[in-house]
Subunit: 115 residues, 2 copies
DNA sequence: CCAATACTTAAGTGTGTGCTTAACCAATCG
DNA sequence: CGATTGGTTAAGCACACACTTAAGTATTGG
């Protein structure tokens, strides 16, 4: 749900704001060009995703960023990169092998037995 | 657009698949539980976001992952973390200052002048 | 106690998204 | 050639999404 939560520009703005420290719902809503209920709906999505936590004290709900949750995205990205680099390594191995074959058996680019 | 592109599970699957190397449209579609046009639509979103590039040779379109484009997400995440840590630093400074005041002037937790 | 503040809930609306089927086009194969 | 493969285009449909306004509920300050 984290990717979905971050797919909306308004929600990313809210996350950016919360990166600078906790804030109340109306503080978050103030700079945004939409009604307060709309902001609350965004906050619900963010909270459901685990990116934001909040607690109500008196009549004011204070929201904070759950930085740890950013790992979800980070990890996914990292995994893609790792897979990609492993692929390049294998490609390198393949080319090395080809080069070896070329030296021992020029013009034949496979490893199959000769009949 | 990158965040939006990655918000869909099917598109993330496609990116994961392309992480292991380039693939044709039908290769990408084969394991997915939907029609080929649906997959093509996902590929269009991914291509518009810059995460995927493709070129057609003969009648087969080969798609590849643009790993570099993952930086967009990575950078945003990193920036959030940096902001967060700067905030914690400032909080640390504030607490240090308080501790200093506590030692020189116990019971007064502000820095204002005594009248 | 009354009014203002800080949300909260509910209901409705236009638009976007993910998918479908059907028809089509172009390259390749027997 | 005609059939198959690989992909594209178009139209339509159901549901999700980002909002809105209106009406509520607590909490708090005067």
């Amino acid at each position: 749900m984290v990717f979905h939560a971050l797919s909306d520009p308004t929600r990313r703005l809210i996350v950016e704001r919360l990166g600078q420290g906790a804030a109340s719902v109306s503080e978050l809503a103030a700079p945004l060009p939409m009604s307060l209920p709309a902001v609350v709906q965004h906050l619900q999505v963010l909270e459901a995703s685990g990116l934001v936590a909040s607690e109500k004290v008196g009549r004011v709900r204070t929201c904070r960023l759950v930085v740890k949750r950013l790992d979800t995205v980070q990890d996914w990205i990292d995994e893609r990169r790792r897979t990609w680099e492993r692929r390049l390594d294998r490609l390198g191995d393949f080319l090395d092998e080809q080069a070896r074959n070329d030296r021992t058996n020029p013009t034949n680019h496979t490893t199959e037995e000769q009949s």
